[in-house]
Symmetry: C2
Amino acid sequence: MMAALILDGKALAKHRESQLKSAVEALTKAGSEVPTLATILVGGDPASATYVQMKQNACQRVGMDSVKIEMPEETSTEQLLAQIEMLNKDPKICGILLQHPVPAQIDERACFDAIAIEKDVDGVTTQGFGLMSMGELAFGSATPAGIMTLLHHYDVPLAGKHAVVVGRSPILGKPMAAMLLNANATVTVCHSRTENLAALVGQADIVIGAVGQPELIKAEWIKDGAVVVDAGYHPGGIGDIDKTGLAERVMALTPVPGGVGPMTINALISQTLESARIAAQ
Amino acid sequence: MMAALILDGKALAKHRESQLKSAVEALTKAGSEVPTLATILVGGDPASATYVQMKQNACQRVGMDSVKIEMPEETSTEQLLAQIEMLNKDPKICGILLQHPVPAQIDERACFDAIAIEKDVDGVTTQGFGLMSMGELAFGSATPAGIMTLLHHYDVPLAGKHAVVVGRSPILGKPMAAMLLNANATVTVCHSRTENLAALVGQADIVIGAVGQPELIKAEWIKDGAVVVDAGYHPGGIGDIDKTGLAERVMALTPVPGGVGPMTINALISQTLESARIAAQ
């Protein structure tokens, strides 16, 4: 068997950033303001702080602005809602990222859903999820949206294929399943309560690791010739999928790191530009 | 093998109607107005007219009012939106049913989504779908909501079981998949583009026929001991599932008619009462 195609999210994101940079220049030359993303980080989780910084850096690389809002660990739901409301009303802000997760005392769903739909460039609102699921225009959740861009770029066949999504979180597994269904895949959603997970994963033409557990999905479950997408990232560069020996026998796979992560950020900034374009019309 | 358990939607709906009738009496005795459902029928499709009439009859049986709005075949999107807006503002109306399908010149999605979420007792808005999918409070789409009530009533085990939904329409297949996932089933969504449909249906612990094609799903595909739910209804009392011999070898099945249909209407009127209760608080 040939070596697996590497779905190189890092390279694709870099390529797309050069296109985004030109598009931002064209937009501002045409008289629009520089697109601005507001990021909200609540509390001091170092990993979250790193993710937010990476998103801001990406904005900078393509010539967009970003505004960094940092709120203390003890922030209340009401305080966060008030902050989001201010950003919703601020005409300079065309996208709002509320970094997940927020501290436990905050009603994350209420705060996500408070983001104005036209500024929901990270695709976290239930309204956006509903619209996207029904094939209507809406920004998709950034990680699955980035994965779809990656799969399309490499012409991975989806229509009629059996995609098995392991995980059902609001911003990853559920929207991933909806996007794959919109692309005419047959979609199975597995999760912690699934019986015979190994057998289901073993049927997949496309496996999506979206469970948030290090190497929970075993290499030996995955069939030869599958497409393997790993959306997990754990300390030490480990994903949700154990990839032992897969490179020699699957059709394609995403590396960790350098696969899904860069595409998540790319989806976020692409959608921020798209929001700015819509606002400029 | 024992004979299959009949999931008797007709009997369960009748039983639940007697409970609903008492609840409506209690609500009005406590000083609330009689709950009122507005039904909108656009055009002259006889099957749709029958469905609307059945829903109005059900309201009457439980002591609720209904208001019947009939609009001509040539109604425009704007005219229908204006009608919905009037009903949204009318404090006497606690639920709005827009009978699907509407004539082709109308943007059905726009009209569904114009229904105020608190009056969306038929569960057709993208906002309601998004909230329900994320486990938040919202009225579910009536047919899958009725199916869930039927499955729960007969204590059909769902958690960890493999449910295969055949069909992915906005008001049936997609919300059915989301509700089964919320009930901790492992869920596969199949559709017209699915390769090896027979093999996938053959794995199902629970099969949901939601495809709208007469007997597209063959009896021989279905494994012994499965639970078979048929949401289809076609002329001559035929469903989406060919049931030849199933009664002798599956665990449970819904009859057509008398299975899913009565539960759909029951979900609609239950949710209308629920809307009235919330408004009365």
